[in-house]
Symmetry: none
Subunit: 412 residues, 2 copies
């Protein structure tokens, strides 16, 4: 079974937005053993969308068209698919009523241009979209399947899993993958620890990927069934874990904020943040995790020096060592803990750039953790622009908290 | 002149790495008036790379192949281009000497596998790569040009500007674009306000894009020179601004946080945040802007009810109306302003999900702004997952602040 992706949109073609849908669908297909050989990006031009679909039908079984289902004249995927199928769209009354209701429930009248979102062709089945106005299409033509899905990821993803997957008879999954997420170790050091016997093998395969939150190590195996693939991968997974144990903080989708949340919940402990450099990013990461109100009491972003003092950092420390210092970071973590009456306090201070500050270079950051019997400060020098420096410092702060909690868990 | 991009690499196809090169090249081509209609992503498979190049040669003048120039068996772009040109690669002795020197200068011996990076075919000109081992190729065949460049961006970009551009006789740049960023209005309403005369025109063209921070309206024009294009676009830009003025907060790269920062700096005023729902995201957005320490005094993320009370929200208000309420949002904004002694206070409270809270539905959010003579609260219902709800609320809060500042600027 071979699938092919066609992403429609001039803004995608020109790189103005990143095509995260394609990455999601590629993983989804791979996990079901469907081969993906081609992805084509084409602008908002009917002739070229038709050409791309025609071409795809010659070499793939499933053609997934993403985007171009909006209400404007530039949204041409429906027109293109109808042209490929040689059919004429008509307005589907049920879909139209649904659209009108969507607008009415939001206190607005449906603009006339949205009518085309209620179009249907004879060989198309409409795929309901609970999160937007554009229904998808599933078209069976020439013994192949064309699936049209809207561009916004929060509309596309539930439609893929709830509407498309049940309608496609995809082959039994015979693939197993597990990703180990590490922090505090580089890619080449990992390669050395794993050894070429692990990294050189084909099935199970072990591959490393440098990501913004550390190096990910992925073990993948394929076999007749998912169970057999899991069994095949097991020794490699055990070997990876044995070699990298002290660096692995989570598996698969568990980022540092998820892992730290799980650690805190298990101990019935809480955390509070005090961020200067990262400007709220650490709290933002923590609150992306469902249930985080169970462990995050609160946070502060005392950006100005006077705000730091108001939050409990001593004026003398700032005077003596500067706001970007080991000492200020330590006091901020302690102040966070105290002010919010939390078990743990996490703090960040540093120079985000573009200009240096207090004679300290861009990228210099101090991360601190204060907790029961714990008082840790670490220093990093992050390269990159302002946003990258913030992200690296936020990750380093969460990593420091993870490691502190882990030591307590291990009774060290 | 039409160019086409072919990105080679299984990890690109599977979405494991993001193709930032394509975005860069798309902008580069656009700025020189070269049309880009197609981008194809194909895995490390010679047959399919050949097919993609063959197809591209039928419809484009310049075919840019990115990636697949490494030393491993998986790197097949050279082989594919040679097959398309019907020529056999031979080892170029000058290139081989250069490669050996590259390794020697790093204290290593050249692995035998790297020899293929010194290959050349008769119709190819080698493009030196000062930052890596893979030279590029510029191949003239069938009256078209094929350019092969390595994948790593820090290798590709200097090669593009220093090696490829001087060799291609690209037309004089004659393109002008301007993007108007709006908030508080939907795509179809914008289309109605603009009218089909504007949106239906080809040059200058006016296109709308729904983005996470609102709808962007882009005016683009092409002419013999950039100045002529700017002049051609001027009436359309004026018409867009006249139709949408009250919704336009910025142009081109200026997001809401940049615009708000500029407004505050111009008035020598400051802001403080108090975020529940958004968990620090509003402060994070504000602090992504260079110089934001000039207007952000600080922020708080009082996630637990007791933290809100500690930050100055009255227990009675929370008791009576709940933490997710118009009243609590209003008090949070006032408390932010007061506690941080800032000109403006911005607050968010709501239900991020996945579960409802206090009997209130997921996605319900209250945003509040407190300032000199200003006391505004707005309610939204955001659809989507936890992260999307947070993002929408953060944007709505910044939009509320922008609008409040704008009214003062206009003396309303």
């Amino acid at each position: 079974m071979v699938a092919e992706l066609i992403s429609v949109g001039t803004e995608l073609l020109l790189g103005e937005i990143v095509d995260t849908n394609a990455a999601y669908l590629a993983q989804e297909l791979k996990n079901r053993g469907v081969n993906l050989y081609w992805k084509t990006v084409v602008g908002d031009n009917q002739e070229r969308v038709v050409e791309a679909i025609e071409r795809a039908l010659t070499r793939s079984d499933i053609v997934i068209v993403g985007g171009g289902l909006g209400p404007t004249e530039d949204d041409l995927s429906r027109e293109a698919i109808a042209a490929v199928a040689g059919e004429t769209p008509t307005v589907d009354e049920a879909a139209l009523a649904h659209l009108r209701e969507f607008f009415r429930s939001r206190g607005r009248e449906m603009p006339a241009t949205n009518t085309k979102q209620a179009w249907l062709i004879p060989s198309a089945e409409a795929l309901p979209n609970p999160n937007g106005t554009a229904p998808g299409w599933l078209v069976r033509t020439r013994g192949k399947v064309i699936v049209a899905l809207p561009g916004p990821p929060f509309e596309m993803k539930p439609m893929w899993s709830e509407q498309v997957l049940p309608r496609l008879a995809l082959p039994q999954a015979g693939l197993h993958t597990r990703t180990f997420r590490t922090t505090g170790i580089g890619e080449s050091h990992i390669a050395e620890l794993l050894g070429s016997q692990l990294t050189g093998a084909r099935n199970p395969s072990v591959a490393t990927y440098a990501r913004r939150d550390g190096v990910h190590v992925r073990v993948a195996a394929s076999a007749a069934t998912a169970d057999a693939a899991r069994e095949l991968a097991a020794p490699a997974e055990a070997a990876v874990l044995a070699a990298l144990d002290e660096y692995v903080y989570g598996t698969d989708g568990d980022d540092l904020a998820v892992t730290v949340g799980r650690q805190l919940a298990a101990r019935s402990e809480t955390v509070a943040t005090m961020e200067s450099l990262t400007g709220g990013l650490v709290a933002d990461e923590i609150t992306n995790v469902p249930g985080s109100s169970g462990w995050l009491v609160g946070g502060a972003v005392p950006y100005a020096a006077r705000a730091k003092i108001a939050m409990g950092v001593s004026a003398e420390t700032i005077e003596q060592h500067g706001t970007v210092s080991r000492e200020t970071a330590r006091e901020m973590a302690a102040a966070a803990r105290e002010r919010f009456a939390a078990t743990w306090g996490v703090a960040t201070t540093g120079v985000a750039g573009p200009d240096s500050s207090e004679g300290k270079p861009v990228g210099l950051a101090y991360l601190a953790v204060s907790g029961p019997g714990v008082d840790e400060v670490s220093e990093i020098r992050a390269s990159g622009g302002r946003r990258t420096v913030k992200e690296r410092a936020a990750i380093a702060a969460l990593a420091l908290l993870w490691r502190s909690l882990r030591r307590l868990e291990a009774g060290q």
